[in-house]
């Protein structure tokens, strides 16, 4: 890794040194007040009445009995919402269902009462007259000619297609052509803190303050302002501390519900969803049906690949087409070849709404391409690591689909080389030979790449504000927000090194629209990279200002602060605009934002060991290696934490997580029947960093927190292939699916 070397006379650098999360002590002692722990004087308790059916016309809603219940202070339905919309387009969906409900769990009414039980009882007293409508239970049903149309614009939520040439011609003479289809399920985020928080309405000012988790406080501020029909400046979002996000706090309507209730009740209102509500109503990872046609030369080189994907976004658009945009870009994996094509369609259905989820469309398509490469290695008699090394993109290479220029920090090859040299890979044959009883052993490898930031043409920008006081104390307001990863700890490290000041003189604040300049979402693996770069820019500007004025910041911060205040120069505003690719390749310039190819990518190779029970189909994962190309790991322990958490989400997707819906009704309704990995399912994990530095990032850092999810499922299926000779194409690989594959396999 590239930790800066110590400089004589300066404090030891913080960048590259593990620093515990600033709030870590408060978390483990329980002292922290999460947004849902917040209690206000005179606070009421809210409840959301949700649809129990997947699709119905709302003929009438009668709230009179609910309103008459003693203790009830407000009931809000669609008719009471000034602008009943979660976004500018009809397909963004209403805040509260008006004419129709389109999903089990869709919000119909909000109730505020003196206690939660009364609010719940009031919900039971709301009379709904519903006429059931036919259920669109998946993409096939949505595409059918006679399908009920869920939106005026139809059932297609979006399509993205691009091609860099004639794939069939390119693979016509290939030594091996694979045509395969894979399926990846809907996945639930399972953030430990379920959505909720508190809102407080100021009747005089007609303004609202909302304490509620958000990955994009600025966007939520605008959503609330739209729904309440008040200026954005009248909405203050205070969006942490919050217990996890993983994408689920991107599309979450909870801040809007809180604000509507607080305004209607004229008092602070608290809402905290149950896990069962989240299981039904919360956005999921998009389930995908992905097909790949890919051709290889005899030496393993990829000659061309065409990927088609179908995704189910549920009843409203949320992140659907944007997710598919990322799938398109990553449908060629971290590989360089001449001809590629992608065609992906997102459908509206009456299933669970899908939205942003760590990896954002990449795990789904990566599973198709990595599985194909695993199979090709076996078919062509090549080593699975070598076939990948033969195809990976190198620094600055052109992307296979869009032909745009990638960053020179791209270091996929080194992650593969490092993985191959590790004993987990090197000793795989010996480990396999030591298997006993019905437990067969195998080792798998997979590689992934994921863009950092929103992509070229999107104007993606993060900002920071800094001020120094007369004690030499620095305060920095920066975004993206903290959603569990303790980004403020990392920003502090960047600032300490950039300013050359002791870290405990720097206070970093995030997630408050009242103070933090608009910085975009905690998403797209951009927080350390973009937010860190904005912090760095603010710090550099202060240092530069001091140098220009001849002020000794490093040795007399208090004196310098006093002087700068006198001069009216004690505050700095800076921004970092994420650089577009140098060369957009064959993407039409006017469509740059449509495809939004990236310049900067994080990459990752994983090696995983699995044991498969040939008699029962159980799969266990004892050990896993993750090699990361993330530039400089600013806070290595936090980076490893991100890697390990991401791996577990990938492992869950691979072998157990499956949010099941049939006929529009969720069947996995709680954490009893929706299984996520426990500590007993957790492999021993090794995370290594390869040497590297991204020029545009703060101290050479780039993003990594999504790419770590991506290789885990295909590495696990590759390991299963190595263990028992069959390659699963459908996730999760439950014991049932595994046993069926073993028993159907000709070599069983």
């Amino acid at each position: 890794m590239t930790a800066p070397a110590p400089v004589a006379g300066r404090p030891a650098p913080w960048v590259g040194r593990s620093r515990p999360a600033l709030e870590g002590h408060d978390i483990v002692t329980g002292a922290i007040t999460y947004v849902t722990d917040r209690r206000e004087e005179g606070m009421l308790h809210g409840h959301v009445l949700r649809s129990a059916v997947p699709h119905a016309r709302i003929d009438a809603i009668d709230v009179s009995e609910a309103l008459a219940l003693p203790g009830v202070r407000a009931v809000v339905t669609a008719a009471d919402v000034p602008v009943n919309a979660l976004g500018p387009r009809a397909v963004d969906g209403p805040a509260l269902a008006d004419a129709v409900v389109r999903q089990v769990g869709e919000a119909i009414a909000l109730i505020a009462a003196t206690d939660a039980t009364t609010a719940q009882r009031a919900a039971d007293l709301i009379r709904l007259e519903l006429t059931p409508l036919p259920v669109v239970d998946g993409p096939a049903a949505a595409a059918a000619a006679a399908a009920p149309q869920l939106h005026a614009s139809g059932n297609v939520s979006g399509n993205i297609a691009f091609s860099s040439g004639d794939v069939e011609a390119a693979i016509a003479g290939a030594a091996l052509v694979l045509r395969r289809s894979v399926h990846t399920p809907a996945q639930e985020h399972v953030a430990i803190e379920t959505p909720g928080g508190v809102a407080s309405w100021n009747a005089e000012e007609e303004s609202v303050t909302i304490w509620c988790g958000s990955q994009n406080p600025g966007l939520h501020q605008r959503k609330v302002a739209r729904a309440l029909d008040i200026p954005a400046e009248s909405v203050r979002m205070i969006a942490n501390p919050v217990g996890g996000a993983f994408g689920s706090r991107n599309d979450d309507p909870m801040p809007v519900f809180l604000a509507l209730l607080a305004r209607a009740a004229g008092a602070p209102v608290h809402v905290h969803m149950t896990r069962e509500e989240v299981m039904a109503a919360g956005a999921k990872r998009h389930p995908f049906w992905t097909s790949i046609d890919i051709g290889f030369a005899a030496d393993g080189r990829i000659l061309g690949s065409s990927v088609r994907a179908v995704a189910d976004t549920g009843p409203i658009i949320t992140s659907g087409p944007n997710v598919m945009k990322t799938s398109a870009e990553m449908s060629t994996g971290p590989y360089g070849f001449d001809v590629a094509a992608f065609d992906g369609t997102v459908y509206y259905t009456n299933n669970a709404n899908a939205g942003a989820f760590r990896g954002y469309g990449v795990p789904q398509v990566a599973f198709a391409i990595e599985n194909a490469i695993t199979e090709a290695a076996h078919e062509l008699g090549l080593d699975p690591a070598q076939i990948r090394l033969r195809n990976v993109l190198d620094r600055g290479d052109r992307h296979s689909l869009y032909r745009h220029r990638t960053t020179t920090s791209l270091n996929v090859r080194e992650t593969l080389r490092t993985a191959v040299d590790h004993p987990l890979w090197a000793q795989r044959h010996r480990w396999q030979a030591e298997a006993t009883g019905p437990w067969r052993r195998g080792t798998g490898i997979a590689v992934a790449m994921k863009g950092v930031g929103m992509g070229s043409g999107t104007g993606d920008t993060a900002r920071a504000r800094l001020s120094i006081d007369d004690h030499g104390q620095i305060t920095i307001w920066a975004g993206p927000n903290h959603t569990g990863q303790s980004i403020q700890t990392t920003y502090g490290q960047v600032a300490a090194d950039a300013l050359g000041l002791p870290i405990d003189t720097i206070d970093v604040r995030v997630g408050d629209t009242g103070a933090v300049p608009e910085s975009g979402p905690t998403a797209a693996s951009r927080s350390t990279y973009a937010g860190g770069a904005a912090v760095r820019a603010a710090c550099d500007e202060l240092v530069e200002r001091c140098r220009g004025l001849g002020l000794p910041l490093a040795t007399d911060a208090a004196g310098v602060g006093t002087k700068l205040i006198e001069l009216g120069e004690a505050e700095v505003n800076a921004e970092f605009r994420l650089p577009d690719t140098d060369d957009i390749g064959i993407v039409p310039p006017e469509q740059l934002a449509t495809f939004a190819p990236h310049r900067v990518y994080g990459t990752c190779t994983q090696v995983v060991r699995v044991e498969v029970n040939a008699l029962t189909g159980e799969v266990r994962v004892p050990e896993l290696l993750c090699v990361l190309d993330c530039g400089t790991p600013i806070n290595p322990a936090a980076t490893i934490g991100q890697a390990e958490g991401g791996i577990l989400q990938g492992l869950g997707l691979a072998i157990m997580e499956d949010h099941r819906v049939s006929e529009g009704v969720p069947r996995t309704t709680s954490l009893e029947n929706y299984l996520v990995p426990t500590i007993a399912d957790t492999p021993r994990m090794h995370t290594l960093f390869v040497e590297g530095s991204e020029d545009s990032g703060p101290f050479g850092a780039k993003g990594m927190s999504e790419v770590v999810v991506v290789p885990t499922p295909p590495a696990i299926t590759a390991a299963i292939r190595d263990a028992v000779g069959v390659l699963p194409q459908v996730l999760p690989v439950t014991p049932e699916r595994m046993l069926a594959l073993i028993e159907e396999s000709p070599c069983a």
């Binding site: 019905p438 029962t616 426990t678 007993a680 399912d681 439950t734």
Partner: protein
Amino acid sequence: MTPPTPTLLRPEGTADVSRLLTGARAVAGGTDLLVQRRDGLEAPTLVDLTGLASTRPAATRDPGTGELRISAVHPLTDVAAGCAGAFPALSAAIEAFASTTIRNRATIGGNLVTGSPAADTVPALLAADAVVEIVTPDGGRRTVALADFLLGPRRVDLTAGEWVTSVRVPRPSPEGGFRKIGGRRAQAISFLNLAWQWCREPDGRLTDVRLAMGAVAPTVVRLHAAAAALEGRSPTPDVVDAAVAAVDADISPIDDLRASAHYRRRCAAGLLREALLPPSTSGGPDQHVIPTTREKDQ
């Protein structure tokens, strides 16, 4: 929606329980009851049996007959310790049960009375011909064979005011075990499970073979046909094949969210085959051979 807070009654001693149980419901670890209350079960008054644990041992063994008497109100962790290796199938079942935190609360009484076909302590007890000891409302005792106690899903032979005080197990075999298949490796309801016990004669023959399987029928069931195929024989490949083929006769699995009937049948066969593998090759725990490099990375 969670019903209103119940009244919790704590009996002074065993004699007190029957009086308090009138119109009330027993609670031990609460690991089933509290979940059921959340799902709408009405239980306004609860009688907490956990205090009784301090008045007696978790398990006692009759030195003469070898019979084990296991308390129905002790946490499973204490039961495993109390059995001290005398009942390997039950100890293995407890080890595979939920997680440490749940095992520190959950009891055998609760596991039996809940009446789940997937209950993990039941196969070992049923295979061992356990007898359930019940205290009747008048303070008297009655016993019922576990096989007769289990009536169907969520139905057991226990009437209002009765409670389970202990389980008697005639000398369990020294060789026995338990395996469960779940969707993950802790905190998982069994897709199916198997308990076995037998004696291995010096010539390798298995005698006194008892097998019981869960989540493959309305109650946990004995695999009588498979046991008969093994009884008095060495587990040679032919004998194992015959026993495995006989499993189907005693089970009637259904499709549910967790697994299909077809999988349950296939896996039931697989589980018995695995149990019959020579003891040294059955797999064992994961092995980690690579020292972690994590510390070095930081």
